[in-house]
Structures are given as structure tokens and as C-alpha cells.
Symmetry: C2
Subunit: 192 residues, 2 copies
């Protein structure tokens, strides 16, 4: 085959979803952008949602890859935690797609966008949970429920990065790192 139409479609869809979100992306638009007839899309994907899901999966794959790159097995759990969360954040900031989706979920509550975001979030949480379990096994941190711990860390990170700056001066990376160290690593209990 001269051109990989499926690839063209996926690329076009990725761009369009990132640029306009789920709802505002039309199949005709994607077809035009992919230099492909509209019907061709339906020979590869059963419907709009499935096409969207493929893009979401691709984003998750990229994210996982980015995370794996940012994690160094020789570093401490805490260092890797921050590197991972930070890379996830960079990813989020950079990646039009996730930003648009977040926006669309908040502003319009599009069902497909909600599901997509949930899937991405779960992928992050799963990945974190695995890494936390590793750290426990290595006795790098105390035993704890990896799933809940991942959840707590993720939510707090999101809160400090996105919610805090709604009512305060944004926190720097260093400050966030320090807060994580205080709360999650050392705890607030006074040494006895």
C-alpha cells in the first residue's frame, strides 16, 4: 500500500481531538484532515467513540513511556515519585489533548470525554500503585496499601498544582516537592 490510511486517520483524529475536543471534532473534519473519504474511517473504526478510544490508548501509551523514561531504579522512591508526577504534569500541560479533555469535562460534561479522562487517570494510578508496591518490596518505604496511597498522592498533587493556584500564588516545583516530603515521607509527628 502506498499510504497507511489507518495511520493517517489516527493522526488526524489525534490532532483534531486535541485541538477541538471530542464534541467539536466531526468525522468529516477528521476525514478531510486525513485526506480520506468519510466512509473510509468506518472501515477501520466502528464509530466515533472507538476512534476516540484509540487516541486515548495512544496517549496512555505515550504517558507510560514518558514515565518509564523519567524513573531511575537507582534513585530513591521519593525522587522517583517526584520525577514521575512532574513528568505526568509536564505531559498534561504540554499535551493539548489532555488539557482540552479536562476542559471539556468541566465545562460541558461530555460523557465520552469523561470516560477518556477516567481511563487516563486510572492508567496513572495503576502505574503508580505498581511502583509503590516495588518500593515497599525494596523496603524503600513502609508497607501501605499501594492503590490508596497512589490515589492520595495523585489527588494531592493535582490539588496543589491546579487547585491551590485558584486562590493563592502558584507553588514552585521545589515547594511542592518539599510539601510531599513533609506530609508523605516524614509525617508531622514529632520525633519522640
Amino acid at each position: 500500500m502506498a499510504v497507511d490510511r489507518r495511520k493517517q486517520i489516527v493522526e488526524a483524529a489525534g490532532k483534531s481531538f486535541a485541538l477541538f475536543g471530542y464534541k467539536a471534532t466531526t468525522m468529516e473534519q477528521v476525514a478531510k484532515l486525513a485526506n480520506v473519504g468519510k466512509g473510509t474511517i468506518y472501515t477501520f473504526f466502528t464509530n466515533k467513540e472507538e476512534l476516540f478510544d484509540v487516541i486515548v490508548d495512544d496517549v496512555i501509551y505515550q504517558l507510560r513511556d514518558l514515565a518509564k523514561t523519567s524513573i531511575d531504579p537507582d534513585q530513591s522512591f521519593m525522587n522517583n515519585l517526584h520525577r514521575f508526577l512532574f513528568s505526568a504534569l509536564e505531559f498534561r500541560r504540554e499535551h493539548e489533548f489532555v488539557i482540552r479533555l479536562t476542559h471539556e469535562v468541566k465545562e460541558m460534561g461530555t460523557a465520552a470525554a469523561k470516560e477518556g479522562m477516567l481511563k487516563i487517570e486510572n492508567a496513572i494510578l495503576n502505574f503508580m500503585a505498581v511502583k509503590i508496591q516495588d518500593a515497599i518490596d525494596r523496603e524503600d518505604i513502609k508497607p501501605c496499601n499501594p492503590e490508596r496511597t497512589a490515589f492520595a498522592m495523585f489527588k494531592m498533587y493535582i490539588a496543589f498544582v491546579f487547585d491551590w493556584e485558584l486562590t493563592h500564588e502558584p507553588l514552585s516545583k521545589q515547594e511542592i516537592l518539599e510539601l510531599f516530603r513533609q506530609y508523605f515521607v516524614n509525617g508531622l509527628a514529632v520525633e519522640s
Copy 2:
């Protein structure tokens, strides 16, 4: 005076806002419920927003009172933290007003409702920050930024109580308490 019209109005408004939210509450409704002419409301309150604000302030007052009751100066910080957060939560669950507002903010994004919720949230955060500062002074916990710590605790609590159960079995009070102890009090660092 035979009847305290202002009080009647405030009570009627409280009920109506709790029952129908900000938008769906009409001044005529409040007037009827208060057995008062519509114009009378405007002799006490300049507009709907101000009337709403008075109700919000009243809710904050009640919340603060509830918190003060639930806090025992002889108990440890951790115990009081949990008692306070728990009472705040009970309050939220029980109190129609806060429930309706939360709902209205999420579903319709009413500006006035948003402001009201923000005000309530800030009141809780302020109160917590003061208590955290107290605990630091008493050397009950390590020195830390009270405002950020209150924020972190509040957000995590909300996450565990409201967000966690969207994708998991709800956590019991004991479990949440235990998670707070693990993360905020002891930290995850292995004892060296």
C-alpha cells in the same frame, strides 16, 4: 414589634435556598414563605445576593460552632483533626443547604453558589489553619505551613470521602482515619 420580619425572611430564605438552591429560589417565593410582602425584603437586604450571603454566613457560623464543640483541647491533634473533619463531613451530608449548593455548582455553575461554597470552604480552611498553628505551638506536631497543611488535609479528606467511592467501595471512617495517620502523621519513610 409583634413579629420580627427580618428573622422571618432569613428563615424563609434559608429553607428555600436549601430546598431549591440559589437560582430556583425566587424573591416572591421567599416573601410568601415568610408571610411578608416582596418589597419588605428589600428594606432589610439590598438584593438577592446579599440575602444569600447572610444565609451563607449563618451556615459558616453554625459550622464553626459545631467544630468548636467537636474539638477537645485535651485530646491529641490527630484525634481532634479527625473529629473536626468528620463533623464537617456530617454537617455537609446532613445539611441540605450545602448539598444543594454543591450540586448547583457542579450541575449549573451558578456564580453566586460558587462564591458561597468558596466562602464556606475558606472558613473551614482558616479554622483548620488556626488549629494547626496551635498544635505546632504546643509542639504536638512538627513545624509546617498551617495554610498549606490545612489545604492538603482538606483536599485529601474530600478526595477519600467523595472521589474514592466513585470508582471503589467506600472507605469506612476507621480506614480514612488510618490513612490519615499513615500519610500525615507517621509518614512513609522507613525508620532508620
